[in-house]
């Protein structure tokens, strides 16, 4: 279980997170929705220990990762898989090596095992045969899928997705969602996913949380969120422009 308590973060004078609270039960898929620039990526970076909060804490199965450093933090991170918003592929390596990298370096698997797993992972995201190319030589959507393959190939216990499907065509969005759903059933990982794919994510989310003005203003099942009486939530999921524009 991931517990977030009173997470607060400002950049200079700009407050981004204000006393944010959230609980992510083990084995569930929690989707964070919210306005662009609202702090979703900043929030995820706190969960993986890349940013340190001004106040508040993040607990992963009781370990306070906002306090941990060095080896203790790495022990938690070894259970993670992370898909960055921009992919963050290693551009000095081919796509194949990118996916193989965590298997070789993090899990220290044998060569044959690495090969088998990489092939499977690339096939799952529909990228058989492009493994030999460099990240710079493939399209943005393909890069995104390589990043997903790299994050999931180690079969992590906890996965963080920062907009895994943004920039993909509608067919691929569904393919990726189905892939995540399928792997989730198989591996039972805990997932925290930032997504703008409304309404598609309602099908794969166990919980949807709306981040607005630095807090989680509403949490609930997809059905509850869709039926929410909160005007901010209603407006957001219907995509209505209006007074929430200027806060």
């Amino acid at each position: 279980m991931i517990t977030v308590e009173g997470l607060t973060k400002s950049f200079g004078r700009q407050p981004v997170l204000r006393q944010l609270d959230l609980e992510v039960p083990t084995g569930s898929v929690t989707v964070i929705i919210g306005r662009s620039g609202g702090g979703k990526s900043v929030f995820l970076k706190h969960l993986v220990g890349l940013l340190h909060p001004d106040a508040g804490r993040v607990l992963v199965d009781g370990a306070e990762i906002t306090r941990l450093r060095g080896r203790a933090l790495d022990a938690v991170r070894r259970r993670y898989g992370v898909v960055f918003q921009g992919g963050a592929l290693f551009d000095s390596m081919t796509c194949w090596d990118n996916v193989a990298f965590p298997l070789r370096e993090k899990l220290r698997l044998r060569r044959a095992e690495v090969g088998k797993r990489v092939e499977t992972a690339l096939a799952q995201v529909g990228l058989e045969g492009v493994g030999g190319k460099n990240p710079a030589e493939i399209s943005g959507g393909m890069r995104k899928r390589v990043a997903i393959a790299r994050a999931l190939v180690t079969e992590p216990e906890i996965v963080f997705f920062d907009e895994p499907t943004t920039g993909l065509d509608p067919i691929l969005v569904n393919t990726i969602h189905r892939l995540i759903q399928g792997l989730h059933r198989k591996l039972g990982f805990t997932a925290v996913m930032v997504s703008h794919e409304i309404p598609e994510i309602f099908e794969i989310a166990d919980t949807v949380a709306m981040l607005h003005e630095g807090r989680i203003v509403e949490v609930g099942t997809p059905a509850a969120i869709q039926a929410s009486a909160n005007p901010v939530v209603r407006q957001f999921i219907r995509g209505e422009p209006g007074n929430a524009e200027g806060h």
Binding site: K45, V48, G49, L50, D74, A75, R77, R78, Y80, V82, F84, G86, A88, L89, F90, D91, S92, F101, P102, E105, K106
Partner: protein, 264 residues
């Protein structure tokens, strides 16, 4: 809002104190960075492939520029020192004069400056781009220490390649002096190399050797640090690259002076 006069009067002091603190803070981070990098360099697991790749990046690809600058430095020295010495009628000492200036000073320093311009800047840009495209963060969240993958191999490669580059520079430079002094200006070959053997000690060579090793550490340290702590966007990378080259070059010359004055 109006401030009390005392607070107003103290404002410059306040600013001074703050900038002093930020300088100390930056120095602290700079030093900590080296300690962390050395820790990653000296403890297993070692990243052999990354190391070999860095040797290629820093050393092998700098060969041409080292050959060119070494040859011309030696030729310039051969000419100028010959002209100077001939005023005292002591052209016979051309060999040792060229060899000593190159081995003790110009070899290590110029080789280091050339490698900084060629490879140091590229090192900063490469690591800086990895930082702004979150590749370093990706390593970090895989529980893999980026120091071990990016910085340690570079520093180690610097320690290995800088002395080799310097040795090459020395040899080519001495040969350049030979070309001008012997082939063009008519000094005898025996004099050029014979006097060199008499006057050049192992001590001189060791001085150049240790200088080049320390330059190897300085350059890779500064350049990887600047890449790691890059600002935002392409502009940040550009600025970091410039700063890395300027700072490396200045540190090379400053360190060269102190090193030379302590070890004669």
């Amino acid at each position: 809002m109006t401030e009390p006069p005392l607070a107003l009067a103290l404002r410059p002091l306040d600013a001074l104190g703050r900038s002093a603190l930020s300088i100390v803070d930056a120095l602290g981070r700079f030093g900590t960075f080296l300690i962390q990098a050395l820790a990653a360099t000296l403890t297993p697991p070692f990243k052999i492939r990354a190391f070999v790749d860095r040797i290629n990046f820093i050393g092998y690809r700098s060969l041409l520029i080292i050959l060119l600058t070494g040859a011309f430095t030696g030729m310039v020295l051969g000419l100028q020192i010959y002209i100077t010495l001939s005023r005292f009628g002591s052209e016979a000492f051309l060999g040792p004069a060229v060899a000593l200036s190159i081995i003790r000073e110009l070899g290590p320093v110029l080789a280091a400056l050339m490698v900084t311009g060629r490879a140091g800047s590229a090192l900063t840009a490469e690591i800086g781009i990895m930082r702004i495209t979150e590749q370093i963060d990706a390593l970090t969240v895989m529980a893999l220490n980026p120091m071990r993958y990016l910085v340690a191999p570079s520093i180690l490669a610097g320690v290995v390649t800088f002395p080799l580059m310097t040795a090459l520079f020395d040899v080519i430079g001495i040969f350049g002096g030979y070309l001008v002094g012997v082939e063009l200006l008519g000094l005898s070959q025996g004099t050029y190399f014979g006097e060199m053997k008499t006057f050049v000690d192992l001590d001189d060579i060791m001085l150049g050797f240790w200088k080049s090793i320390s330059f190897g550490i300085i350059v890779t340290w500064v350049c990887t640090y600047k890449g790691f702590h890059v600002g935002h966007g392409a502009e940040g990378v550009a600025r970091a690259t410039t700063q890395a080259v300027v700072m490396s070059s200045v540190l090379i010359l400053v360190w060269d002076y102190f090193f030379g004055s302590v070890w004669r």
